[in-house]
Each structure stands twice: as structure tokens, then as C-alpha cells.
């Protein structure tokens, strides 16, 4: 029956293109959105992943950076430093702001960025790779991402504005852009001054001593220092991803639903009309001794093949998109993950199964005797 399904499908190319194309586009909706969100989730932790810190210490209850703010009194830094197992601490200041490249038209040069205030003796939390210039900004200096500098047309020595303050571009970092923007580094002193000399810090980045477990040291920090939350880097990154996930769950659900409904509508219609068009041939098979179950199988196989090809096509388009997005100058990364493939694949099978149910009654009701009357 698979062969019959194949042959039937490929005999009517227009119908095949409509059904496969329709399903592919519908599934593409789900698949590419999944890939975009997966990409965002990976990008969103770029800074955390590459910070070099083993533990992030924040204001009690704060477990991530995006859309969060954490303020710790400066006195905490010393307390954390005193916890056994802690090798070094780097207090940083953090806020989301924009980089203004003052040479350019302002609307061109608005770049959203995480602004990190870095102390001169930072052992973690700085730019992991420097393309040009300094790796820790001194007073009056800033380090921004190379791609952002190129886009804004600024080079080392140029003036840029961060937090409304004019600074000299002293360093360019490699690949520190994320979906939300890029990461810029200024000196902790400048940051503190701009914020009004509060003396507070946002996070304390901890490196643990060789052989110590970050989880164990984090637990110790929470026990010995009041009103802080200490998360090992991996846990902190996972929380960050979860924030994005939580924000996007509803969107994903709605898009999947839309994709499902469109895919189902296209398939149901094409499977139904395809069966209708072959009424007589199914009648002939019945007359020859095929059971209705055989014919359902052919119809189901037809639906499965169309949906399968549609799924493969949507996957291919997503792969092409993900490969070509970096060349489009979009700071978006599409990442296909296994869970998404399984979910959209499952969706496809449900679509095929449901669409093949529609013609069941039609086939069951076929009277093979009519074949002998030219019907």
C-alpha cells in the first residue's frame, strides 16, 4: 500500500506541492520559532558562560541578570572573600543601557547593551577575548564589541557615550553580542560615579580554589554571608535561560497551535480531495478484494508521506535560515534542538493521523458493486 500511496501522491504534482508546501510552512512556523528561542537562550548566557567566574553572588533572591537588578553593599565583598574555598572575588556593577557612538547620527548608533563596571584588578567578568586595545578599562575608557564598533563606524580612540557619559574607546572585544544587544565594559569607578557614588556593587564574581566544588563553596557563602544568593555559574546560566523560556512559553504555545491548525487544515483538505478523486480506484480495489483497512492504510500512508516530506522541508528551510542569518547582519542565532524536533515531529504525526481520519467514512461507504456500473 506504500507504493500505491507514493504513486498516487506523485501522480498529482500540484496537489502534492500544495500539501507538502502547506505543511512545510506550517511546521516551519513552529520549528523556526523554537530555533530562534533556543538561539536566544544560548546567547543570553554568553556573558555568564564566558565570565570566568565559578560562582555569582547577588542580592538575596536574585538568580539571574536579564531583567533583574541586584545591589549589594560594598562591605559584602570582603565577607565573601573571607569564606573558605574562595580564591578571588571581583565585584562588578551591571545595568542595561545603550552605547551611543557620538560621531554618528544618534538613531543609527543606539546599541542596547549590558554595561559592566569592572574593577582594575578583575579576575573574572571581563571580556574573554580582546581583538584590539586594552582588556580592562581604565577611568574614562570603554571596551565595546568589535561588531558594534564596526557597525557604528568607530575605532579605537574615538569618543562614545555610555550611561550618558562621554568615554574613550580603548578596547574592542570579540563576539560578545547577544540577542538583546552587546556587552560593554567601563571602569567600576566611572560606573559608580555616574550612579552617584553609592559604593554598592551588583554582583560578586567568585573564583574558587583549586579542588573546591563551586556548589559547595556557594552553599558556604550563603551560610556565612547574610542576605546574598550564591549560584554556581551553571545554575546561574540555567536560571537566565529559564527567564527567557518563561517569557516565551505563551508565544511558543500559540505559534505551535497556529502551525498545527494550518498544517491540519491543509492536510485534511488535500487528503480528502485526493481520496475523493480516487473514489473509483478505491472501489475497484474493494471489488478485487481489498478490505477497507487496506485502503485506510494507503490514505494514511499518503498523509504520512506528505507530512514527512513537509517536515523534512521545513527542517531544511530552518537549517538554511540558521546558516544564513549570521550573514544578514542580524544578531539572531537559530539553534535547532532535539526536543523541538521531537515535538514538531510529533505534531506532524498527529496532523497526518487526523487528516487521514476524514476520508475513512468515505472509504467505508464505497460500494464495490458500483464499479460494475461504470461509477
Amino acid at each position: 500500500m506504500w507504493r500505491l500511496a507514493f504513486r498516487n501522491l506523485f501522480q498529482n504534482k500540484v496537489r502534492l506541492i500544495i500539501s507538502v508546501g502547506g505543511v512545510a510552512l506550517a511546521l516551519l512556523l513552529s520549528l523556526s520559532l523554537d530555533a530562534i528561542l533556543e538561539g536566544i537562550q544560548r546567547q543570553v548566557t554568553t556573558y555568564i558562560d564566558q565570565s570566568g567566574a565559578d560562582i555569582f553572588v547577588a542580592q538575596a533572591g536574585v538568580r539571574n541578570m536579564h531583567m533583574a537588578s541586584s545591589w549589594l553593599p560594598a562591605s559584602m565583598v570582603g565577607k565573601v572573600r573571607g569564606v573558605p574555598g574562595v580564591e578571588s572575588v571581583t565585584p562588578i556593577l551591571y545595568v542595561t543601557n545603550v552605547i551611543e557612538a557620538s560621531d554618528n547620527a544618534p538613531y543609527m548608533a543606539l546599541n542596547l547593551a549590558y554595561i559592566i563596571g569592572l574593577p582594575p584588578n578583575a579576575t573574572a567578568g571581563g571580556p574573554p577575548r580582546i581583538a584590539e586595545g586594552v582588556s580592562i578599562p581604565a577611568k574614562g575608557e570603554a571596551i565595546i564589541d568589535r561588531a558594534v564598533a564596526a557597525k557604528s563606524g568607530v575605532v579605537l580612540g574615538d569618543k562614545i557615550k555610555i550611561l550618558g557619559e562621554e568615554l574613550t574607546l580603548a578596547g574592542l572585544s570579540e563576539s560578545m553580542t547577544t540577542f538583546t544587544g552587546s556587552i560593554a565594559f567601563i571602569s567600576k569607578k566611572d560606573f559608580d560615579r555616574i550612579r552617584g557614588e553609592t559604593g554598592a556593587v551588583s554582583f560578586i564574581l567568585v573564583k574558587v580554589e583549586l579542588g573546591e566544588s563551586p556548589a559547595e563553596v556557594a552553599r558556604r557563602i550563603e551560610n556565612q554571608v547574610d542576605k546574598v544568593t550564591a549560584e554556581p555559574r551553571t545554575g546561574f546560566a540555567a536560571q537566565e535561560r529559564k527567564v527567557v523560556q518563561d517569557m516565551s512559553t505563551d508565544i511558543v504555545t500559540i505559534m505551535n497551535l497556529i502551525g498545527f491548525v494550518i498544517g491540519l487544515a491543509v492536510m485534511a483538505l488535500t487528503v480528502y480531495t485526493a481520496t475523493l478523486a480516487r473514489r473509483k480506484e478505491y472501489g475497484v480495489l474493494k471489488a478485487l478484494g481489498a478490505r477497507s483497512a487496506h485502503l485506510y492504510r494507503a490514505v494514511l500512508a499518503q498523509a504520512l508521506i506528505s507530512v514527512g516530506v513537509g517536515f523534512a522541508l521545513s527542517l531544511l528551510i530552518t537549517l538554511i535560515l540558521s546558516a544564513s542569518v549570521p550573514y544578514l547582519g542580524v544578531s539572531l542565532s537559530l539553534q535547532i534542538n532535539g526536543a523541538s524536533l521531537i515535538r514538531v515531529g510529533g505534531l506532524s504525526i498527529v496532523i497526518a493521523g487526523l487528516s487521514a481520519m476524514l476520508p475513512i467514512k468515505q472509504i467505508a461507504g464505497l460500494d464495490p458493486a458500483l464499479v460494475f456500473r461504470g461509477k
Binding site: 500505491l4 506523485f10 480495489l285 478485487l288 478484494g289 464499479v371
Partner: protein
């Protein structure tokens, strides 16, 4: 080889009820021996198709019974009938009814697969039968590329592929020109004889009378007069016994198409 005896007893079919009731077939009895070719003729509306549908287990008789090898088909449960049709009957239709998307080979093989053969075996069997029917060069053609005669030969191959006891054909020559139609029917006859399969053909085509062993005349759902056919031992033609020239020899009756054949026969009757 099969030893089926097909027995139809007192079969009646009524369509509808009350004032719209039509008796399409009434009290028809018939038995067909293995290898026998029976032609049922009759005007349009005489009940030929109805009778054929009942013979082929596609329509339940209102009364009467149909037996194949001692199994009463007319008493079987509905869900047993597809298998009977698949394995015991071969069907040949007026408008060929090949599956348009399948190749010649696949059209035949699919029916063997339905009967449980594996794809490879089904294709091998189909190819052998098609080649025997002169379609060896056409195996991978789509039906639309075939002539009418070729299509009907594919249909014959399809009817044969599951080694049926009985082949049922409804107006098999109606869509063929007379020469081709006759050729195809001669082919069907040859197979029936070689493989000892029974054939029932329903037709109003007078020109194929000579390929039948027996011609029955259906009118108003009933058989009128039975014509028994015989083969001229000299020229091989099929002749109606009632109208043919005959002669007795060695306790048997022989029938001839013309005096010439009888005269030739008499010169060497022991052949």
C-alpha cells in the same frame, strides 16, 4: 490447477421494495465446470450485471444459493467475502479499471500483495503472467500509455494473479474494437483451458460467441434457451451444437462448422 465446481441454484435478486420493487434476476441456476467458458448474453437491462455481481460475491442474492467448492458463498458473513473475491475470483471490467498511478507490473502485483505475497514475489509472479500474455515489454508503462487491448490484457493478468477458480468478466469487449476484442477473448479462452479455470463472461457482444463452450441467454432475469457450444475438431472453431453439422464416431458426437470439416474428419477420424 483447480478443481472448483461452481454451483448457482435458484438465485433471485430483487431490488427495492413495494411499488419500486424490481426483480432483476429470477430463479437462475447454473453450474460451471473447471476450464469451462460460459457466455451469458442478453439485452441491456436483462440482469446480466446483477447476476455477475452475485456470482462474484459482490451482491447477496435475495433467495437461492451460490456454492464454490462446497462452500455456500451466499451464506457467508459479509466480512469473509473480500478474501473470497481476492483468492477465488478474478474480475475483468468493461472499462478496464486499472489504477492510473501504478505501472502495468504494479497493477498486477498489488493484487497479489493484497493476498499476502511479499512485494518481491508478487512482482515476480506478476511479471511472469504479464510476459505470458505478451506484455513483457510493457511492464513499466503506465496504463495511459497502453492500447485498449493491452489494458484488457493487463486486467486479465490481474484477474489471474491469485490463481482464482473462477474468472468473471462484465462486457469485457465493449470498449475494444471487434478484432482486438475477439483476440483478447481468445486469449482468455486459451488460459481457461490451459489452467483449467472457469470463466463466466457477461456480454451482449455476438461476435465472441465462438470462444465460449456454452452460451446462455438471459432475458428479463431468466435464462431462455441454452446453447451448447462444441469445438470443431478439424478447424478448432467453436460451434453451436444445435445448429452444427454433426457426426457420430466411436460412440461420441462431433460437431463441425461446415460440411468440409466433417468430410475431412471422416477421412481420418482416429486422430
Amino acid at each position: 490447477m483447480t478443481n472448483a465446481t461452481f454451483q448457482v441454484s435458484q438465485v433471485t435478486k430483487r431490488y427495492g421494495v413495494g411499488s419500486t420493487e424490481v426483480t432483476a434476476v429470477r430463479n437462475v441456476s447454473l453450474s460451471v465446470a473447471p476450464g469451462e467458458v460460459v457466455l451469458i448474453m442478453g439485452p441491456s437491462g436483462s440482469g446480466k450485471t446483477t447476476l455477475l455481481l452475485m456470482l462474484g460475491a459482490l451482491l447477496k442474492p435475495t433467495t437461492g444459493s451460490i456454492q464454490l467448492n462446497g462452500t455456500v458463498l451466499s451464506a457467508l458473513a459479509e466480512n469473509r467475502l473480500p478474501d473470497i473475491r481476492l483468492r477465488e475470483f478474478g474480475f475483468i471490467f468493461q472499462d478496464f479499471n486499472l489504477l492510473s498511478a501504478l505501472t502495468v507490473l504494479e497493477n498486477v502485483a498489488i493484487v497479489a500483495e493484497l493476498a499476502g505475497l511479499k512485494s518481491r514475489a508478487a512482482r515476480q509472479k506478476a511479471a511472469a503472467i504479464l510476459t505470458d500474455l505478451g506484455l513483457g515489454e510493457r511492464l513499466n508503462f503506465l496504463p495511459e500509455k497502453l492500447s485498449g487491448g493491452e489494458k484488457q490484457r493487463v486486467a486479465i493478468a490481474r484477474a489471474l494473479v491469485n490463481d482464482p477458480a473462477l474468472i468473471l468478466a462484465d462486457e469485457p469487449t465493449a470498449n475494444l474494437d471487434s478484432k482486438i476484442g475477439h483476440e483478447v477473448m481468445r486469449l482468455l479462452r486459451r488460459i481457461a483451458k490451459e489452467q483449467q479455470r472457469s470463466v463466466v463472461i457477461v456480454s451482449h457482444d455476438q461476435r465472441i460467441k465462438d470462444i465460449a463452450d456454452r452460451v446462455l441467454w438471459l432475458e428479463d432475469g431468466q435464462f431462455k434457451e441454452v446453447t451448447t457450444m462444441a469445438i470443431d475438431p478439424v478447424c478448432g472453431m467453436s460451434v453451436e451444437q444445435e445448429k452444427a453439422i454433426s457426426t457420430e464416431w466411436d460412440g461420441r458426437t462431433f460437431y463441425f462448422c461446415a460440411k468440409g470439416c466433417r468430410d475431412e474428419f471422416m477421412t481420418k477420424p482416429q486422430r
